[in-house]
């Protein structure tokens, strides 16, 4: 079956970073179509297409637009979340650097639909090449009079996973530390600069031109009715051909891993699949016939997340993998909520103790207990994301955790594929350390 391409359509045949290249594949025709319609018709089309957010939560995009507060006397903002930082995810990066005009066109169509004159695209600071590609494309679009009075601002982050959380992103965009806000009020009512704000992921917005081009009914025929359309699936880890592959939602993990990406690298045995980025519960090899869509993955006990599939082979110690994941969340916890700030440190300490062979069986129970005390206890999902890898690895690979305790050491005896992996939290300080002999900062 030929895989339909929506997000990446034309990128292999044309240079879509250039306006003429994008026009050659019909680019900006959907914008003209959309602007000839009433704004509500655009929101209705997105609703009929049943587009669901590609950033992680899978919230229906049309319904999100319908929640925007009306007649507040304030501007309506569209904010695009391009702070892609989920470990395993690299889809939005390719959308921006290979087809930036599709994202810009999606912004302009969506802005028309929600009556916004002001769009902010928050790009993670590390994506410098992608920022430059987007800036050049935006300059071209502006020069070609495509913006029609809409302002699109490319705003660069400065390195913080938490800024992918939508209210932390708004805080960061307003010039503060990226710490999530309590909800309510929700961003559609009181978001950026206290004004009604719609926040969507890059890949969600970049699908909008295709909904207008194909028509929502045709779009809705691609993939499962509960979640139509395609996603760019990012396959990484111990897989033969890692990379981004656009496929309809509902494609099974088995197809993605074995038919699309060539199976486990080196013909090794599959041990674990993390289906949606490091923050979602792990799946075991007997679950890989699960279709990759929100509902199916949810029924299997995990999350679709950002469609970032990490493949783990049989050489990896799951305690080490849990520890490395926990170190990430400890590093990225913003510190606002106590269960997350303190809990992530407990996770790292206990997992270090287990890995080093110094743990008792009661420490496993304590680890379970800490997970329970963190889950659902923080303002944003990071506190839960820190728990999911640890609690799910412990549940599915319990024998490995037990073996560390029983043996008084790692059963992999130095042969795990990630043995000795260093994490930023292992470095002497949060910052690069001083130069010998250099002045210490005041």
């Amino acid at each position: 079956m030929a895989a339909p391409e929506l997000l990446m359509a034309g990128t292999k045949e044309h240079d879509l970073t250039r306006l003429d290249g994008y026009r050659a594949v019909g680019g900006y025709a959907a914008l003209a179509t959309a602007r000839a319609r009433e704004p509500q018709a655009i929101v209705d089309a997105i609703t009929t297409a049943n587009l669901r957010g590609r950033g992680g939560a899978g919230f229906p995009t049309g319904r999100k637009a319908s929640l925007l507060a009306k007649d507040t006397g304030k501007p309506v903002y569209l904010v695009v979340n391009a702070d892609e930082s989920e470990p395993g995810a690299f889809k939005d990066r390719d959308v921006m650097r290979f087809t930036p005009h599709r994202l810009i066109e999606g912004c302009l169509i969506t802005a028309h639909g929600i009556g916004s004159q002001s769009v902010f695209i928050y790009i993670r600071g590390e994506y410098l090449d992608e920022f430059e590609v987007m800036r050049a494309a935006l300059d071209e679009a502006r020069a070609a009079d495509l913006l029609d009075g809409v302002t699109i601002v490319l705003h660069r982050g400065a390195g913080a996973y938490i800024c992918g959380e939508e209210t932390a992103l708004l805080e960061s965009l307003e010039g503060r530390r990226g710490q999530p806000r309590p909800r309510p009020p929700f961003p559609p009512v009181q978001g950026l600069y206290d004004a009604p704000t719609q926040i969507n992921n890059v890949s969600t917005i970049a699908l909008v031109p295709k909904i207008i081009e194909l028509g929502p009914e045709e779009f809705a025929k691609i993939g499962p009715p509960s979640a139509p359309g395609t996603a760019v699936f990012s396959l990484s880890g111990n897989v033969a051909n890692p990379g981004n592959y656009e496929r309809p939602l509902g494609t099974t993990l088995r197809e993605l891993i074995y038919d699309v990406a060539g199976g486990v690298a080196g013909g090794r045995e599959l041990k674990a699949v993390i289906p949606g980025g490091s923050s979602v519960p792990v799946l075991t090899p007997d679950q890989i016939d699960t279709p990759m869509d929100y509902d199916s993955i949810g029924a299997a006990g995990s999350f679709f997340g950002s469609a970032a599939i990490i493949i783990v082979d049989d050489r990896c110690c799951m305690v080490q993998l849990a520890l490395r994941a926990a170190q990430f969340y400890m590093h990225e916890s913003c510190g606002k909520c106590t269960p997350c700030r303190v809990g992530t440190r407990w996770l790292v300490q206990l997992l270090t103790k287990i890995e080093n062979g110094h743990a008792e069986h009661t420490d496993l129970a304590l680890l379970d207990d800490v997970c329970g005390r963190m889950l659902g206890k923080s303002l944003c999902a990071l506190g839960d994301f820190a728990v999911y890898p640890v609690s799910s690895y412990m549940r599915s690979y319990r024998d490995e955790f037990e073996a560390h305790v029983t043996l008084g050491g790692c059963p992999f005896a130095g042969s795990s594929s990630i043995e000795g992996i260093v994490a930023p939290v292992d470095q002497h300080t949060h910052h690069a350390t001083h130069v010998a002999g250099a002045a210490v900062p005041a």
Binding site: S85, E86, P87, G88, A89, F90, R93, R124, G125, E126, Y127, L128, T151, V153, R156, G157, A158, G159, A160, Y161, E174, G175, R177, G178, Y193, S234, S236, G237, N238, P242, N244, A265, S278, A308, I310, V312, R324, F328, H331, E332, C334, S417, I418, I421, V422, A423, P424, D426, Q427, H428, T429, H431, A432, T433, H434, V435, A436, A438, P441, A442
Partner: protein
């Protein structure tokens, strides 16, 4: 205030209803103007430019990973060691840089030329392991590539 900070912020001011939205750009520019980190005078310059306090600037700078509050080398070599990179040999790449440069992750070489860091996911998981040199991605990098990468950087002016 450096004229670059003044000029670049001037071009951005009209884009936001609140001047504080410029703080990350301002700190980034100030850091580039101060050899890659933010000494107290850099924080004061940004504070003056945005009419906020230096303490406010410090609170921002201490939150974000790309802003540095201690001196760094003239070149920054960052190796992603998050899950996807770890699974395909990131630690061997870290070790190769550590051997080549004679420093551990988090340290700067004695001549001030290089800072080596382990970093969290850079978003290059499909071409892992990822190494970022002075904000530009090299992907994938194997331990055998490391001497040539260091040599190439040393050859820059």
């Amino acid at each position: 205030m450096s004229s670059r900070l003044e000029n670049e912020l001037g071009a951005l001011r009209g884009l936001y209803p609140d001047r504080r939205s410029l703080v990350l750009d301002a700190l980034r520019i100030a850091q580039e103007e101060h050899e890659g980190w933010l000494p107290p005078e850099a924080l004061r310059e940004v504070a003056d430019a945005l009419d906020v306090t230096p303490a406010y600037c410090l609170s921002i700078a201490s939150f974000y990973d790309m802003l540095h509050l201690a001196p760094v080398g003239r070149h920054m070599i960052e190796v992603c060691t998050n899950l996807s990179c770890a699974l395909v040999g990131a630690q061997a790449v870290v070790d190769a840089f550590a051997r080549e440069l004679g420093v551990a992750p988090g340290e700067t070489t004695e001549d001030g030329a290089f800072t080596l860091r382990a970093i969290e996911c850079a978003g290059g998981c499909g071409r892992a392991p990822v190494v970022v040199v002075d904000h530009r991605y090299h992907e994938p990098v194997q331990p055998a590539d490391v001497p040539a990468i260091v040599e190439e950087i040393r050859g820059r002016s």
